[in-house]
Symmetry: C2
Subunit: 314 residues, 2 copies
């Protein structure tokens, strides 16, 4: 007999249907049911639900809910929208996410290393011209942020042979790479960087970290990849540095406002690659497997996975 597990989300119907299908593949003995298909009795019986940016008014109709499994890693919004709730919120922690981010870092580092934007521009002009190609060890790649994501990305880049450096607020030791910390350390590292990759969380300390002075510290012709958060990088400073040619190219996956507004200078800038926040999307297959494991443990023995500390918000 299948257990009903409600699925509550403000995503569009196609995305909800895709999630329900992936969740059902991972839990064939459960019945994952979209909010709209549930009767009042079914809503009141449920003790657990799966959520992805849920509407608080919909959530409030589940009177006996003990906990919810979020499909997102970031739960700032649901925490904010449920003041004083007794509900336990379990966030998605999927090791695949760091792996996908390391893939994105490698993919777009190789994109810059192999001069793909320049070859694309040459193709548009019908120009046949080989660009110089340094060896990977001659390419200095620096990572801003040495958390879980930053260290895994650095290791992937080192496996490929690039020369790595890394910066974090406090000094870390990471095998195989030079590490820097603090404001002076940042200047020192930037001065020796060909490709800079931002993987920092957004905090009051990192907001605006990459400003005009930081960009000026980089060697002429360096490039930037921002896979962290838009406000880490000062937009006007970047556009000036790109226009002057001091910075050769920027790969931007995150922005001050998302989606990037129509007409923004980045869209048409020849030295900017605009990506729609896709560096490390949640994978429905691996995330559904994690949800399935949590549900099995709960239905078999009442175990609820570690939940969010609502006073800290994460």
């Amino acid at each position: 007999m299948n257990t009903i597990i409600p699925f509550i989300s403000r995503s569009d119907p196609a995305e909800r249907a895709a999630w329900i299908a992936a969740l059902e593949r991972a839990m064939p003995t459960q019945s994952i049911r979209d909010f709209a298909t549930l009767s009042k009795a079914e809503r009141e019986q449920a003790m657990v639900a799966i959520v992805a940016n849920p509407d608080p008014a919909e959530l409030a109709q589940f009177l006996n809910l003990v906990w919810v499994q979020s499909l997102w890693a970031g739960v700032e919004r649901i925490v904010q929208e449920l003041p004083g709730t007794q509900l336990k919120i379990v966030r998605m922690v999927d090791p695949q996410l760091a792996d996908t981010m390391a893939e994105a870092v490698l993919a777009w580092t190789l994109y810059l290393h192999r001069d793909m934007p320049r070859y694309r521009a040459q193709q548009a002009r019908g120009e046949w011209l080989a660009q110089p190609l340094p060896l990977p060890r001659e390419r200095r790649v620096s990572i801003l942020g040495l958390g879980n994501l930053g260290i895994l990305a650095a290791q992937r880049l080192m496996t490929h042979g690039f020369t790595l450096a890394g910066w974090s607020r406090s000094k870390y030791v990471v095998e195989g790479m030079d590490t820097y910390a603090g404001a002076v350390g940042l200047q020192d590292m930037l001065a020796q960087t060909d490709i800079l990759i931002a993987l920092l969380p957004l905090t009051p300390q990192t907001r605006g970290l990459l400003d005009g002075a930081a960009l000026a510290a980089m060697p002429r012709g360096a490039s930037i990849i921002n896979f962290a958060r838009g406000p880490i990088l000062v937009e006007d400073a970047l556009i000036s540095a790109l226009d002057s040619g001091h910075i050769d190219h920027a790969v931007l996956d995150v922005f001050d406002r998302e989606p990037l507004p129509p007409g923004h200078a980045y869209w048409k800038h020849p030295s900017v690659t605009v990506l729609p926040h896709i560096s490390a999307p949640t994978n429905q297959t691996t995330a559904s497997a994690i949800v399935a494991a949590h549900m099995a443990a709960y239905f078999q023995s009442g175990v609820i996975p570690p939940s969010v500390d609502l006073t800290r918000g994460y």
Copy 2:
């Protein structure tokens, strides 16, 4: 006292100067001298020279030359231009070449895997839209040609997590991947391929191997990377398959005629990435180090490295 080593090449002056600088960095105790700077006496004294597509008329002025070190791996042209020569020709064999080719294979496989051409087109339209991203193990990448280059490239792709298959004329066993051989094997492999990478030598058997029937055997939406030789792929068949959408994208580094002629349909085709034969360029630093080792052995003990068999031509 520096030994004079002549450098004889039809490359343009900037490229000759760059090579001479790289060679002198690798052999600081030798004097590498461009053909035009040598006196008649210096030409007649030289027993060894470094060549890169040399003019046979220039080469003929070196009356005591015993052997030449070519900077290129391919020596078909010099062999053809020196009929009946006693000169020993040493070709460049640089392990860096296979490593650079594996890098190119990984870089442009990730380019397709991460949908970079589609995001580029979306940026041009100002469109913000995330594309589905399979896990690397869900992406079936197949290599045509399991020589030194093909196997190293396959291993690099497996390290990244892609699902690999490979095809060669005779059946090989390669750990971690399915291998195929022969015409039936090719059809079987193509039917299960998302990204196909050509790394085959051009022979009478491989000319036109990727024709309309081969492309039709691939699943709709598959992509192709040609890093081998242009004539392996039938141009008209590829353009038809791209126009119909059966093949999603082609990354082409080699062509029937190079440079790719102005006005060729590939230049402006939205589903073609044109590269100017840059997948695995000779690296001046590593190639110069190999030349330096050969020169040191020759000047110290008269050893000439293995040279080209002029009857076979390689």
